[in-house]
Amino acid sequence: MQYLLKNGRLIDPLTGRDEETDIHIVDGKIGRIAKNLNVPSAQVIELKGKIVAPGFIDLHVHLREPGFEYKETILTGCTAAAAGGFTAVCCMPNTNPPIDDESVVRLIKERARIAMNGLVDVYPVAAVTKGRKGEHLAPLSELAAAGAVAFSDDGDPVHDAEIMRRALEYASMFNRPVIQHAQDIPMTKGGAMNEGFTATRLGIPGMPPVAEDAVLARDIQITKYTGARYHLAHMSTAGATAMVRAAKAEGLHVTCEVTPHHFSLTDEAVSDFDTNTKMNPPLRTREDVDALKKGLKDGTIDVIATDHAPHSFDEKQVEYQSAPFGIVGLETALGLVVTELVNSGVLTLSQMIEKMSTNPRRIVNLPEIRIAEGEQANLTIFDPAAEWIVDVQAFKSKSKNSPFGGRKLTGKPVGVINNGEAYWI
């Protein structure tokens, strides 16, 4: 198959390229890049006003397979990723069985290769500890050899400081980061939303922001001591943002990500007890949102990742306190980033692409994507001006648990190209 991408705006942060041009794609590779190309044999895609960028990767996705296929499968998750403008995802290990054995890494990679003919690359994140129980290290080097790109017990924190220290030391031997879900467990016991005014008003047990900050503060000290690589998942507080900023200034290998919901919503969204506003970490306050935006702008925050966490309809049809944590995010991320960050001047389009492609790939040691003649075509194409209304029933994801249904967004994926496959939205 040949495509001729006409008049798109190519933005490649790695080469600094930003220009309107045509791109010819032949058999999954980039042919010529030039203005006014004419290739009669190619299918022409008119992209005036649209952006052509290196393929986006979501560093934080729960694909749920194996074990929870009623919530999501590798196929439905990859389809949702493609529909959301992603050509790759990192999947988290809280499956059943968990990704704590090389056989599970291989199983996921094999199934992902078949799903959508490999359009979406799936990079497993393996567990830090056996069974994600926080007690004994998982076989990290075997997991890495099988293809795990990072380690995390996500869903749960690595709570024990000694285990965290040893995990960081061990993972640093093969240059993999440990991704931490920072949450102090006793401080958040029974909690269902951010502790603060809204929780006080609603009488819902709170999860204080200091429960995230305290674990991060400890981890930064361990990272400093070990010299290892540490990545903070779904950072949600002003305090954590300040600590990561300081750690970076000190030259530590600390990176972090933020989710679209944490910079788009505050805990006031919980006011009508909608269980689709329940996730972990919880929605925080306006001050936290402002601090996260500042962190995105000044480069403290490296990555935007969704923490895509599908749950079935029935699981969320319960009282707020009984509902599981998590929302789907793959199919609203791009629109939320453009609407909340690009259009309000927090990020340029180039910075957006860095945080959704270049930076996350660097953190998990994936090869750089270059949009240049002769390179593999791994592209995300989106329309930064398209306005649309979120319809959760139209999601490709198996689950519809999103608080953004009915919301008007600007910025919509147009298509993705990767591994010789294309998906047009």
Partner: protein, 306 residues
């Protein structure tokens, strides 16, 4: 003039007019309760389901009596031994109850927002009889009724709530209702029991009860629940009693007549001393009687709205 809402979920956001309407309506039902024949017909032919997912003998009895006094058919549902303990969801349980053509549901649940969820899945009128740490609107209404009966008004009074404010639905509903009615509200308790940012609800916070008593008109003393995180929120009952127990000595030192309320059941000589509970300033037993009248008023006003 009917109530604005079809349900009574809480006092947060309820207007002064609606609260006044409920309290005024309760006055006439209070008279009914003094008659030799205490039954009136407004809810004849209506069925009320009392769904108590959490134990509460007092509130359940008070509602049941109010329903029977209004001639309603009463369906009692208790979670213990029912399908809920077998893993049935609130949604399924509620829909099953509604399939029996119930007109009103009175629900007590351990989770905040449970009745707010319920109104999305069933059509019956819903009355919140306490949802987790969120609201207990009929308790606050009967507290306000009792204060108004004793002191003649609510506007301009200083009401202090003392105890575990963080976990108390009674405290929240009282704060919302009393603030709307123009009272000054303060809360008093150890720092571990005062929730974050509660000042933003327009209340004053005290940690030492003797600091607040000299300006208080009515004191609402909350029950201390020892089972709650024993030893985490306060060290011992003795220490709590020494610092927050409402005693005659303390009240005398404050030097004014303070009306004493308690939502019950009382832990004598823990949060309140026996002599204070039984004193002439205590309105604890009036609260029980007024509770029936206030609940009759709520049931009547919601059902006559349909």
């Amino acid at each position: 003039m009917p109530l604005k809402s079809k349900h009574l979920l809480g006092l947060d956001g309820m207007s002064r007019e609606d609260i006044t309407l409920i309290l005024d309506t309760a006055v006439s039902f209070r008279e009914v309760l003094e008659r030799p024949i205490k039954k009136v017909p407004p809810l004849q032919g209506k069925t009320v389901a009392n769904m108590f997912f959490e134990n509460s003998t007092r509130t359940r009895l008070s509602f049941e009596l109010a329903e029977r006094r209004l001639s309603a058919d009463v369906l009692a549902f208790q979670a213990t031994g029912s399908s809920v303990s077998k893993g049935e969801t609130l949604k399924d349980t509620a829909r099953n109850i509604e399939a029996m053509k119930v007109d009103m549901v009175v629900m007590r649940h351990s989770a905040a927002g449970a009745p707010h969820y319920l109104v999305r899945v069933i059509d019956a009128n819903v009355i919140n009889a306490g949802d987790g740490g969120h609201e207990h609107p009929t308790q606050a209404l009967l507290d306000m009724y009792t204060i108004r009966e004793k002191l003649g008004r609510l506007e301009g009074l200083h009401v202090c709530i003392v105890g575990d404010i963080a976990h108390s639905r009674v405290a929240r509903s009282n704060i919302y209702g009393l603030r709307t009615m123009g009272a000054r509200v303060s809360v008093c308790g150890p720092a571990t029991m005062i929730p974050r940012d509660i000042e933003r609800l327009g209340v004053d916070v005290y940690h030492h009860i003797d600091d607040v008593l000299p300006t208080v008109d009515a004191l609402n003393v909350l029950r201390i629940q020892m089972e709650r995180d024993a030893g985490r929120l306060f060290p011992t009952l003795r220490e709590y009693h020494n610092f927050y127990g409402v005693t005659r000595q303390r009240l005398e030192k404050a030097g004014r007549a303070i009306t004493i309320l308690h939502p019950g059941p009382i832990n004598r000589d823990v949060e309140i001393s026996a002599d204070v509970a039984d004193s002439e300033h205590s309105v604890i037993l009036q609260q029980v009687l007024n509770g029936v009248a206030v609940r009759m008023a709520v049931l009547y006003l919601l059902s006559s709205r349909n």
